[in-house]
């Protein structure tokens, strides 16, 4: 018998949990809505293609967009191949008792939980001080400070490291969905292991590799902490032309404009619009990753 009291409590429990769920939807709607509402009127073609002007109180965000694109492209070039190959190693070459594989798995799990700011510290300590300093000493005897400074190269490499686990994990997931039957078919035909990987495994996990890349780019485009002191610049009169140049970046631009601008209130429109651009960018990336992943999962269920 379901008594009236039980039914009442039940309604309460379900109601409260539904409210919590609703709250999440509300939060997402509120954040998105606020930013769209605040940035829509400022957003224009000119805003996207012009450089900031009048002491960053007017103009557009073109250099920040370019800087962000440079950053994620260089980060992907450095990180995606290494992550992909590492995932191939883990899935295809490493035995269950491989020390290297276990080390990598442990490190990847650890890395995924390390705060982004710690990556920034690493970039500073390792890339700038250690590697950059080393290059400078080798080239000029340390007389000239060229590589031992924040720049787009070190920022990209730092970001590549941050996104390495993302790549490894999603490529691994994709490789695992390649049916064992296909590997067996290839090997039984007298294909070698590498031939099997190159002709069967990799072509069949391309979507997953792409997903990994996109997720990494999305993560990289959204993180600011690692580049705070490894290469992002407050303002640059020109676009980066060398690896040793600093660069402007969307997320960093939002941070700077909203906390350290000379006239925070006057530039609200710019801040909102920049945030909107970043948000649209990450939305686009995440949705394409989700779409690709759902295709992989569908394949996995079919086989």
């Amino acid at each position: 018998m379901v008594t009236k009291k039980r039914r009442l409590i039940g309604a309460g429990v379900i109601g409260i949990s539904a409210i919590a769920a609703l709250a999440i939807v509300g939060i997402v709607a509120a954040v998105t809505g606020t930013i769209v509402a605040g940035g829509w009127s400022t957003l224009s073609w000119e805003f996207l293609t012009a450089a900031p002007s009048e002491g960053m109180t007017a103009g557009g965000i073109f250099p920040a967009i370019v800087g962000t694109v440079f950053l994620v492209v260089m980060m992907s070039i450095a990180g995606v191949p290494i992550g992909t190959v590492t995932a191939i190693y883990l899935c295809e070459y490493a035995g269950t008792r491989s020390v290297l594989a276990r080390g990598i798995r442990f490190a990847v799990n650890t890395l995924a939980g390390v705060p982004a700011i710690v990556f920034g510290l690493f970039g500073l300590g390792f890339f700038i001080q250690f590697v950059g300093g080393g290059i400078d000493r080798a080239l000029t005897g340390g007389a000239e400070l060229r590589w031992a400074q924040p720049n787009i190269l070190w920022a990209s490499l730092t970001m590549a490291l941050l996104t390495l686990p993302v790549v490894i994990i999603s490529v691994e997931e994709a490789i695992k969905t390649v049916p064992q039957d296909l590997r067996a078919a290839s090997l039984a035909l007298g294909a070698t292991k590498w031939q099997t990987i190159r002709r069967v495994v990799i072509p069949n996990s391309l979507t997953g590799i792409m997903t990994g890349g996109i997720l990494a780019v999305s993560r990289g485009a959204g993180e600011v902490a690692p580049i705070l002191f490894t290469g992002a610049a407050y303002f640059l009169p020109h676009l980066p032309t060398a690896l040793s140049d600093q660069f402007m970046e969307l997320g960093y631009h939002i941070y700077i404009m909203s906390t350290q601008s000379t006239d925070v209130d006057a530039t609200r429109g710019i801040q909102y619009a920049t945030t909107l651009v970043l948000l649209l960018l990450t939305f686009l990336l995440n949705f394409s990753a989700i779409y690709l992943r759902s295709r992989i999962r569908a394949r996995q269920q079919r086989s």
Binding site: L182, A184, A185, L189, G190
Partner: protein, 258 residues
């Protein structure tokens, strides 16, 4: 009971072969000679080790971690588990058809050409010839000759399995191992596969694992019955199915267990 040197070697010959997964033996101490250009069927209840035994002929068991063998397997007198043996070369000469048809998600043409290509054949004309002859030999040419560019996955189950046979033939093996090749197919498709097997034995030594006793009776010349990893009886198929000499064989064949 040595009868002196034989005029001809068996195609495949195992001697006290055991296949172990870790400490557990899936195949126990089996000695068996399989003649060339015959169809030999392995029957027995599931888990009796017949598939494992079959997979030891092209060393597919090597892919399972912890699997190893004791005893020996010889093909044309060559010990295939010898240190100096190249597994990749072995598998080119001992083809395998799997229980579930497993075409690559590529075109029909690319499926057949896969083996020749990994062997370094690039010449388009040569590949065309190989593809056509493999498809003809597996009796599927007439059905697919107009859609060689179509995805192999678009074919029916039975066609896919014959495609897989064609794919194996394209590497030109002398032995074909078939691991329950028709278990997932309907009777019509099964019939076609069986017909094909019959035609192929002129050129190939065929070993087929099957749980379907009618199938073994229909297609094979010789039948080996396995039980719990051991070889119980090996004889002419006709004899096994009419006058088995072991009680266990008889009980299995008459359907009392399995």
């Amino acid at each position: 009971m040595t009868t002196g040197p034989l005029p001809l070697q068996p195609k495949i010959s195992t001697s006290t072969l055991s296949v172990l997964y870790g400490a557990k033996a899936a195949v126990k101490n089996v000695s068996l000679d399989i003649p060339a250009n015959k169809v030999t069927a392995f029957i027995g209840p599931s888990g009796c080790g017949k598939s494992t035994f079959l997979r030891s002929f092209n060393r597919m068991n090597d892919l399972i971690e912890g699997a190893h063998i004791e005893g020996s397997v010889r093909i044309d007198g060559v010990d295939i588990y010898d240190r100096g043996i190249d597994v990749v070369e072995l598998r080119k000469r001992v083809g395998m058809i799997f229980q579930r048809s497993n075409p690559f998600p590529k075109s029909i043409y690319d499926n057949i050409a896969y083996g020749p290509r990994v062997n370094g054949i690039r010449d388009r004309k040569r590949l065309d010839e190989i593809v056509e002859s493999a498809l003809r030999r597996s009796a599927i040419w007439d059905e697919v000759k107009d859609d060689l560019g179509k995805s192999a996955l678009a074919l029916s189950g039975g066609q896919q399995q014959r495609l897989c046979i064609a794919r194996a033939l394209a590497v030109d093996p002398s032995v074909l191992l078939m691991d329950e090749p028709a278990s997932a197919l309907d009777p019509t498709a099964t019939g076609k596969i069986e017909e094909l097997i019959y035609e192929l034995k002129d050129r190939y030594t065929i070993v087929i694992v099957t749980h379907n006793m009618q199938q073994a009776a229909r297609v094979s010349d010789l039948t080996a019955f396995f039980y719990l990893g051991e070889l119980v009886e090996f004889d002419e198929t006709r004899k096994i199915f009419t006058a088995p000499s072991h009680r266990q064989t008889e009980e299995y064949i008459t359907g009392r267990f399995g």
